[in-house]
């Protein structure tokens, strides 16, 4: 039997099928670890069938699915698994909300959202997979979302 690269968790949340290389950005979007003291394990470039993926495990914390959905911006195929007593009690795919606020910076340097104004960046979702978004203010569509995570 092959040993697990990162151990099973008893309670908490497992984010699986993250696009390879995006685990760190996922943590940034979710503000993890932030002020929480939960143990967080990250596995990157894990082989899964024919593709590679990243996995994030957050112990003793059940992440709010609405909050986690934002990661669909960079990991549209990710799944959220809520674990209780080592068992998956809830499992669902991430679903991009209609609007994402304060996560991505606009790629247009002359967009008003990049000026010193008291507003958060705001994007309207065009398609969920592949993730395509459009700036609410200047309507530009950034091509490189992962590089523009705030």
């Amino acid at each position: 039997m092959k040993a697990l690269k990162i151990p099973l968790i008893r309670e908490g949340t497992v984010i699986d099928h993250i696009t390879a290389g995006q685990a760190v950005n996922v943590l940034r979007i979710l503000g993890i670890p932030g002020t929480q003291s939960s143990t967080v394990s990250v596995a990157m470039n894990v082989k899964s069938r024919l593709v590679k993926k990243d996995i994030v495990k957050v112990e003793n914390r059940e992440l709010d699915p609405h909050e986690v959905n934002k990661i669909a911006l960079i990991a549209p195929k990710a799944t959220i698994n809520i674990i209780r007593d080592y068992k998956v009690v809830e499992k669902h795919k991430v679903k991009l909300p209609k609007e994402v606020v304060g996560i991505v910076r606009c790629s247009n340097p002359t967009c008003i959202s990049n000026a010193r104004e008291p507003v958060k960046s705001r994007f309207t979702v065009i398609t969920a997979d592949p993730p395509r978004v459009k700036c609410y203010y200047c309507e530009r569509e950034p091509e490189d979302i992962a590089d523009r995570i705030i």
């Binding site: 967009c111 104004e117 507003v119 203010y137 309507e139």
Partner: protein
């Protein structure tokens, strides 16, 4: 058609029916815009005219529109004399204007500025141009001009000429003309072609624009030739600008190839695109078009302030 308190940020905020309604209402405004009839429709109302960027026609026609309706105008045409110079945010400037006026007209060099202004103002906001973004009242006055001169927009054959890559006017106009199913031809130097996204938008609405660099051929059976300025500020080097700036010049000789009824439009200012000899021909409509900014803006101010003729 209820526009009371509506922000006017982009031409895409309007349906075809709404545009038709505005055009038909603006026609009623023409005698008032010319000063032939008097009205006190907006007496007691105040318009903030916030121009963070230079403008001649847009600012003057908005101010004329408000004055013709007996409203009052406050504002500035140079942000140098305002607290922006001291580093005040646009949001705070808008909050002030909002408390001093009933409607805010804003031109700003940054894209999205009008949408941001609308977030911070309770009063309706009209976008008078936000950088390379939108200029909806220009588009409405262009449609008004075509409708007035050609009696309809649906069956119009229109040639859009010049800087189709960067010009916000032609992007909005191509979208709006597609709403009507007009027949559109794009003529530009190869380096200033219409962006694919704009063409895709036209196609989504069932319009298949023709693209060419041959102006003479394009105008042979056209109803409208809409020319735009090639903007020097868009070119990183002067040599490239000089190479394309003289690509297309509208002269009387060129217009001999066109039908007698063809009209020439231009959002102005023009530099070399239209030879002044064209000004006195029956083709020229760019000065009428500039005047049309007044009735269309009168109509919009009246509608969003909820006071109808």
């Amino acid at each position: 058609m209820n526009f009371k308190d509506k922000d006017i940020i982009s031409i895409k905020d309007f349906s075809k029916q709404e545009i038709n309604g505005i055009i038909s209402y603006a026609k009623k405004m023409v005698p008032y815009a010319k000063g032939e009839k008097k009205t006190e429709l907006l007496k007691g109302k105040v318009m903030s005219s916030l121009f963070f960027e230079p403008s001649t026609r847009t600012r003057l026609s908005f101010e004329s529109a408000m004055n013709r309706l007996r409203g009052r105008v406050i504002g500035f045409s140079d942000p140098g004399g305002t607290s922006q110079k001291k580093g005040e945010s646009l949001a705070d400037t808008i909050r002030m204007a909002d408390s001093y006026s009933d409607v805010i007209v804003i031109r700003h060099p940054q894209e999205g500025a009008a949408r941001l202004a609308a977030e911070f103002a309770d009063a309706p906001v009209i976008n008078a141009g936000d950088g390379a973004g939108h200029h909806p009242t220009q588009c409405l006055l262009d449609l008004f001009t075509i409708h007035t001169e050609k009696k309809n927009i649906e069956k119009t054959k229109i040639v859009l000429l010049g800087d189709l890559k960067y010009g916000r006017t032609v992007h909005s106009l191509a979208y709006a003309l597609s709403l009507y199913g007009a027949e559109i031809t794009f003529v530009s130097p190869p380096s200033l072609k219409m962006p694919k996204e704009v063409i895709a938008e036209c196609q989504e609405m069932g319009v298949e624009p023709t693209q060419t660099s041959q102006l003479e051929k394009a105008i042979k059976d056209a109803d409208v030739l809409y020319a735009t300025r090639i903007q020097r500020e868009r070119f990183p080097d002067a040599e490239e600008y000089n190479r394309v700036v003289g690509s297309y010049i509208i002269t009387n000789e060129l217009l001999e190839q066109a039908p007698n009824e063809l009209i020439v439009m231009h959002p102005l200012p023009r530099i070399t695109e239209i030879d002044p000899e064209v000004d006195t021909t029956p083709h020229a409509r760019y000065f009428t078009q500039a005047f049309n900014g007044v009735p269309i803006r009168m109509a919009l101010l009246s509608l969003i302030l909820g006071e109808r003729l």
